[in-house]
């Protein structure tokens, strides 16, 4: 056993055990953020903003400074923190209800203003912690506790596509939609979150990563089926891809 080569070790700053339901992608996304911060040596200068929702206790799971935000206000809080310490790495970790419903204005204005922070928005199409209510991202026809007959556009409109929305603003440096339903996509997610953090450290502007995720509990699916649902159904409505990347634009220009 003496000549073992390390292929992968869980980052030391990922501190569990967490409270998430079995198979929830929150754990994967937290772990990947921890990997990046540890690999780049940014854990000493990072301030995370935890949301209201399932990830409310995110501050217990990554060993960096954390701020716990009121529901939806993470980007406003992050704006205050970033201007207090402009050279620190400041990111918000939010759900879809948090960032795209109650915090729609705060998230949008962080992009409009080009605040030099990163938002990681986890889109699983429901309000998880409050018990599976309809979110702005719930698919048409999807049954939730507040859309028991399926989301009806007559009353609830249509799914909100945040990566596309955020991409339209000049203050946005990067807007990407990724997922984590298989190892390749986890690595891809890691690549883009790292790039978002790099852009922030270079002062390029607002960076936004939407992660299409699962809620096995409220979807009433086992975790593997939920991951398949993301791959087969969610991505049809939320296509993965790069919606804005100022790095690319510069190369083309």
């Amino acid at each position: 056993m003496g000549n073992l080569q390390v292929v992968y070790e869980v980052p030391k700053i990922y501190t569990g055990p967490n409270h998430y339901c079995p198979g929830c992608f929150h754990g994967i996304i937290h772990r990947v953020i921890a990997e990046i911060l540890q690999e780049e040596g940014w854990d000493d200068i990072s301030i995370g903003i935890a949301p209201v929702g399932c990830a409310v206790l995110a501050y217990d799971y990554i060993d960096i400074d954390w701020f716990e935000a009121p529901h939806g206000r993470a980007c406003a809080n992050a704006t205050g923190i970033k201007w207090a310490w402009p050279d620190r790495l400041v990111f918000t970790y939010q759900g879809d209800g948090d960032a795209a419903s109650i915090g729609f204005a705060e998230t949008s204005y962080a992009a409009i203003r080009g605040v030099n922070i990163t938002t990681i928005m986890v889109n699983n199409a429901v309000y998880g912690m409050t018990g599976g209510q309809m979110a702005p991202t719930t698919l048409v026809g999807m049954k939730t506790t507040t859309s028991p007959y399926g989301r009806d556009p007559k009353y609830a409109g249509y799914p909100l596509k945040m990566a596309e929305h955020i991409a339209q603003f000049e203050g946005t440096a990067l807007s990407v939609r990724v997922s984590a339903f298989d190892p390749q996509h986890v690595l891809d997610m890691k690549k883009w979150i790292r790039k978002a953090f790099q852009y922030q450290m270079e002062g390029k502007g607002y960076t936004f990563i939407e992660v299409v995720s699962t809620c096995p509990t409220n979807w009433r699916m086992d975790p593997v089926k939920a991951a398949e649902f993301v791959k087969n159904e969610m991505i049809k409505v939320y296509p993965l891809g790069v919606y804005k990347d100022v790095g690319d634009e510069k190369k083309e220009g």
């Binding site: 060993d63 400074d65 954390w66 009121p70 406003a76 809080n77 201007w83 203003r113």
Partner: protein, 360 residues
């Protein structure tokens, strides 16, 4: 420093904040507070500070919440309807013990109300406008000079006690032009970053700081509330401020209680009444919370009649009665709601009416 300058109230409040060491202002326009934001937008870039115009008062208050948690002096200013929108952040900041300064240039309400000077946000400021058990430090200067003089104290006490310090002044203070003197100019670099600040682990010995208002364990949340209560008790003991004006004699005919602009006007009424031989004085709370209740009770021993004059519909008088706590006193109220400012003559007539026995 030291010389008198002629300035609009809102601008002087902004300059006072800058000279207190504040370099972060997050605001949203509202009458009659907008000039404060305008002044900061002009002034802060000159001193290496940052002015951000937020998308709403909800966002502005959450930005000072973030900046305060990051250990820096931060401020916002608004007027009544905007302050209502800030109650969310105010409650959270109390829970998470985050210091910041908010200025409320109170205007007439409820609802959209009008844009005239008022004191009708008294309950909101001192009884807790947001959810949960908490207190804010609430300062109510009666002149622009006093507002400028105590501004550093707001920031310093906010950070000393890790709580919100609010200045409530009516729109008149913000809108009036007056000569004012700045007696201080504090270098922000001389203000230490607290060890609890969110600034990245390397700033505080490699151990992470977490700032949260969440505590899911009821026993721990209860303990947190008891801890906050002890802090508020300490603030109550240390920070009560008031002015006793013409209350030296052992027997006073009528003691008037008023704060802010109302108190400033009443000083004129007191002088006029004194010239006519009435023994009238003014008790003026400068901190509305902690309310100077012991001192008020003591001065109330000198008189039978306590007249509360407030630019609201009977809010201050509740604390006056509670402080004096004596059913044998005669309590009188002159309410001025809706943006109406009292005149000395009206107050003088009321005092004379009380002493003739005609008033209830």
């Amino acid at each position: 420093m030291g010389e008198k300058v002629f300035m609009k109230g809102n601008e002087a409040l902004g300059e006072a904040a800058v000279r207190s060491g504040c370099r972060l202002f997050f605001g949203y326009p509202i009458t009659p507070a907008s000039e404060l934001a305008e002044y900061m937008a002009y002034r802060l870039p000159q001193v290496g500070g940052v002015f951000i115009q937020a998308e709403s008062e909800v966002a502005a208050s959450n930005m000072i919440y973030g900046a305060g948690a990051a250990g820096k002096y931060a401020m916002t200013a608004s007027s009544s309807p905007g302050i209502s929108l800030m109650q969310e952040a105010i409650s959270y900041m109390a829970g998470a013990e985050v210091p910041a300064v908010i200025i409320n240039l109170i205007r007439g309400g409820p609802g959209l109300g009008d844009i005239q000077p008022a004191q009708s946000d008294y309950f909101q400021a001192v009884k807790g406008g947001g959810h949960g058990d908490y207190r804010n430090l609430v300062y109510a200067p009666s002149t622009l000079q006093e507002a400028v003089d105590i501004m550093p104290l707001l920031f310093q006490n906010a950070f000393k006690y890790r709580m919100l310090a609010m200045m409530v002044v009516d729109g008149l203070v913000g809108q009036m032009m007056e000569a004012v003197e700045f007696k201080y100019d504090i270098d922000p670099d001389s203000i230490p970053v607290p060890d609890w600040a969110l600034s990245g682990k390397k700033m505080h010995g490699g151990t992470k700081n977490v700032n949260t208002s969440l505590e899911l364990d009821p026993n721990k949340l209860a303990a947190h509330n008891f801890k906050l209560f002890e802090k508020y008790q300490k603030v109550y003991e240390n920070e009560r401020m008031f002015e006793a004006f013409e209350l030296e004699e052992s027997d006073i005919d009528v003691m008037i209680v008023a704060y802010g602009t109302a108190a400033r006007i009443i000083k004129t009424a007191v002088k006029n009444l004194r010239a006519k031989g009435y023994k009238v004085g003014l008790f003026r709370p400068i901190t509305l919370w902690p309310f100077p209740d012991k001192e008020l009770k003591e001065y109330a021993q000198k008189t039978e009649h306590v007249l509360t004059v407030e630019m609201s519909m009977g809010q201050l008088i509740e604390d006056v009665k509670l402080s004096i706590f004596d059913p044998n006193k005669k309590y009188h109220l002159m309410p001025y709601p809706g943006g109406i400012v009292p005149t000395p003559k009206e107050v003088e007539d009321k005092v004379i009416e009380i002493l003739k026995g005609g008033a209830k």
